[in-house]
């Protein structure tokens, strides 16, 4: 092991009382900077936000915040807007992650084939993912405009619809517009992770299949997908976390409308904090978001853990 090499080198140089302390705790010492940094920039704000959530704190009142304990959380459990936002977020996350996985997987299979310009394609396919989410949302908002947007113009030209559709102002369509935009942005990321996973599958497995006369689909379902399980789990973990936190796409495209039908929990938290200046309740929503995503992550990591032990 590499660590014991270092330990032996250090042992040779150290003399006196402190001999051995450093090398025994070398692991902790090396981890310390990272843990302290994460502690300051991640854990401290979370604790502070939790602390705010225990108060009735509205910025318009310069009079001091009032401690109310878990009253904010009780209010949250009965808040219809929060429950609707949560439903919207789950709906959005499930659908967009599944779509991203399917489309991303197909894209990855295509990118795995050998053809000229493959390296170029793998680089340029990342462009949608690299553009900031809010900019994509604003551009798509223009494209989805019912009278001036290019999407309706094209759909009518190709006789797919008869009259302009109000994409962002009709209840069901608005959510689907949001999903389409987010899938467009995230598929490249998904595809790239999956391509890396495909590359790691040993070629011998396929060769032995060919000897037995397997079809493409059989190879896909019996070799490729089982081998890819860990990579798929990691990709799903990233994307589910990202989807639950969704903000830019929704805020830029619909602002949470129409009638709160596309409002996600992050959008609701943002509006409560910065529109209403209600920092107490807004922090409550933020903590609830954190807890939900944390539980999801734990679930995924547990699944990943059991996979590795096979």
């Amino acid at each position: 092991m590499k660590l014991s090499n270092n330990t032996e080198n250090l042992k040779k140089r150290k003399t006196g009382f402190k001999e051995g302390i450093v090398e025994r705790n070398l692991g902790y010492i090396l981890l310390a900077p990272a843990v302290i940094t994460i502690g300051i920039i991640a854990i401290f704000p979370i604790l502070k936000t939790f602390w705010y959530s225990l108060f009735d704190m509205q910025l318009q009142n310069i009079t001091s915040p009032r401690f109310i304990g878990i009253d904010n959380y009780i209010k949250l459990s009965q808040d219809t807007t929060f429950l609707q936002s949560l439903r919207n977020t789950v709906y959005f996350s499930v659908l967009s992650v599944i779509l991203e996985l399917l489309i991303g997987f197909i894209a990855a299979l295509l990118m795995d084939l050998k053809f000229k310009g493959r390296a170029f394609l793998r680089a340029t396919i990342l462009i949608p993912w690299a553009i900031p989410g809010i900019i994509i949302a604003l551009i798509f908002q223009y494209m989805f405009n019912d009278r001036l947007g290019i999407i309706n113009v094209m759909l009518i030209k190709f006789h797919l619809i008869n009259s302009p559709v109000l994409w962002l102002g009709t209840k069901g369509y608005a959510m689907w517009s949001v999903i389409v935009v987010d899938v467009w942005k995230q598929v490249p990321f998904m595809a790239l992770i999956l391509v890396a996973g495909l590359q790691m599958i040993p070629k011998e497995l396929y060769e032995s299949c060919d000897v037995d006369g397997a079809t493409y689909l059989e190879k896909l379902f019996y070799i490729t997908i089982p081998q890819m399980k860990p990579v798929i789990m990691v990709a799903l973990l990233f994307r589910t976390m990202g989807a639950f936190k969704v903000f830019d796409t929704i805020y830029g495209l619909t602002g949470g409308g129409p009638g709160n039908s596309t409002s996600s929990i992050s959008v609701y938290a943002y509006k409560t904090l910065f529109n209403d200046l209600d920092f107490g309740y807004g922090s409550t929503i933020a903590i609830a978001t954190f807890v939900i995503i944390f539980i999801l992550c734990l679930g995924y990591i547990k699944l990943l853990g059991t996979e590795k032990e096979d």
Partner: protein, 430 residues
């Protein structure tokens, strides 16, 4: 061993760049936080933030000011066009005690909110009672909170009716007339739709709805502060908005339109009427507009139960950030912009409606915008939205419920009752 060395160097490089990139953020704010020196004419820079101005007015104002006070440099920073986004940009900065902005431009409804949060410098010593009398009463009322005054009205706004004067000789006085004239004209002369208004789920829908409600004799709060948005006349006013959509006089898309979207369509020449803020007149009369010279302005129509046309008091006010390090220079700037000279520049270059009554009779201004004399009576009776530090919550309750009514998710009556219930909760809690 070589691999480890390379990865160690790479790791150190990554850590170093990430730390350094975090450090460099402070440099662009350094320029504007020079502390007020004892000598009056030491060079000073103030930062002014406002929503993006699509007219040359802002540039001309700064030019004229810097000529007069050559020791003060004004750095103007743009904010997004919509009111809500400007609001959030200010709240995040001011709540943290940021001093990188000196003069802020506030929507007419924010004064009580920002003042009660302690973010604004009280202006009594600069903006005396006698000076206040030179301004229109509505805007002055909007900058007062409790016993103090916190901003100076820069320009005012009130919803008006734009109409194609080449196709409609007399503008309609009631919404029934408007609907009839629209139906008669759709399909002729390139007209595809009758009436454009804004019902996007943000402040836009509140401004528009208030006009329909007031125009039908209703209100959001009565003069004693009681919630009356669910009164028969108020519901009747909201119903007019729904009827316009249902009878295909207005496109379904109005629920996603903000002021700019309506102007973008009206400018193409396919619409007969539009409710919008007067500042849009400049764009409609630009050389690239298909309706140049064909647009008239009038007061909005009334509903069946209304006696006076509704017109929501809009407008923007200038205030000084309490944490500003150069309040005196900031005040000189505000004083200049809102002086007669400044308001004339604003009116002529940008079609911004003045808040000083005297400008409405100025010959130069009237030469360019003769309709100003017709608009003055409207501005004098324009109705403000409810004044409260919790206006955001009030606005949100109205926005969500009325939007649901217009997209057909609930009936107008149910939406009004839900709004009333939520408004009562907000008002009684404080």
């Amino acid at each position: 061993m070589k691999k480890r060395k390379i990865s160690l160097i790479l790791a150190t490089f990554l850590v170093a760049t990430s730390i350094l990139s975090g450090c460099s953020k402070g440099t662009d704010t350094k320029q504007s936080t020079e502390s007020e020196k004892t000598s009056k004419n030491d060079p000073v820079t103030i930062v002014w933030k406002r929503g993006k101005d699509t007219t040359p007015a802002t540039a001309k104002l700064i030019e004229a000011f810097e000529k007069k006070y050559n020791y003060i440099t004004v750095e103007q920073e743009d904010l997004p066009a919509t009111s809500s986004e400007q609001h959030n940009s200010y709240t995040t900065a001011l709540a943290a005690g940021d001093d990188s902005v000196d003069v802020i431009t506030m929507d007419v409804v924010w004064s009580s909110e920002f003042a009660s949060a302690g973010w604004l410098l009280p202006l009594e010593k600069y903006f005396t009672e006698s000076k206040q009398k030179e301004f229109l009463p509505g805007p002055i009322a909007s900058v007062k909170y409790k016993d103090s005054i916190y901003a100076v009205p820069d320009w005012t706004d009130a919803g008006v009716l734009f109409y194609r004067k080449d196709l409609v000789t007399t503008p309609p006085k009631t919404y029934d007339e408007l609907i009839k004239i629209s139906k008669d004209n759709i399909g002729k002369n390139g007209i595809e739709q009758g009436f454009l208004f804004q019902a996007f789920q943000n402040e836009a829908i509140v401004c528009n709805a208030l006009e329909f409600i007031n125009g039908n004799g209703g209100n959001i709060l009565d003069k004693d502060g009681n919630v009356v948005i669910d009164s028969v006349k108020s519901i009747g006013g909201i119903q007019i908005m729904k009827d316009l959509i249902d009878q295909k006089v207005s496109p379904k898309g109005v629920v996603t339109y903000k002021p700019q979207d309506c102007t973008d369509q009206f400018i193409l020449g396919n619409t007969l009427f539009m409710r919008n803020w007067p500042a849009n007149f400049a764009a409609l009369n630009a050389d690239s507009s298909a309706v140049k010279g064909k647009v008239g302005i009038a007061a909005l129509p009334t509903g069946a139960s209304g006696t006076q046309p509704g017109s929501t008091l809009g407008g923007w006010n200038l205030a000084i950030n309490k944490s500003s390090k150069q309040p005196d220079a900031a005040w000189k700037f505000i004083e200049f912009i809102t002086s007669e000279e400044g308001q004339k520049i604003n009116a002529i270059e940008g079609a911004y409606m003045p808040t000083r009554e005297k400008i409405y009779t100025d010959s130069e201004v009237l030469a360019k915008y003769p309709q100003l004399s017709d608009l003055l009576p409207a501005f004098k009776v324009a109705k403000p939205r409810p004044v409260s530090p919790y206006y955001s919550k009030i606005s949100d309750a109205i926005q969500v419920n009325l939007h649901k009514a217009l997209i057909g998710e609930t009936s107008v009556a149910v939406a009004a009752k839900d709004t009333a219930k939520q408004l009562n909760e907000i008002i009684n809690k404080k």
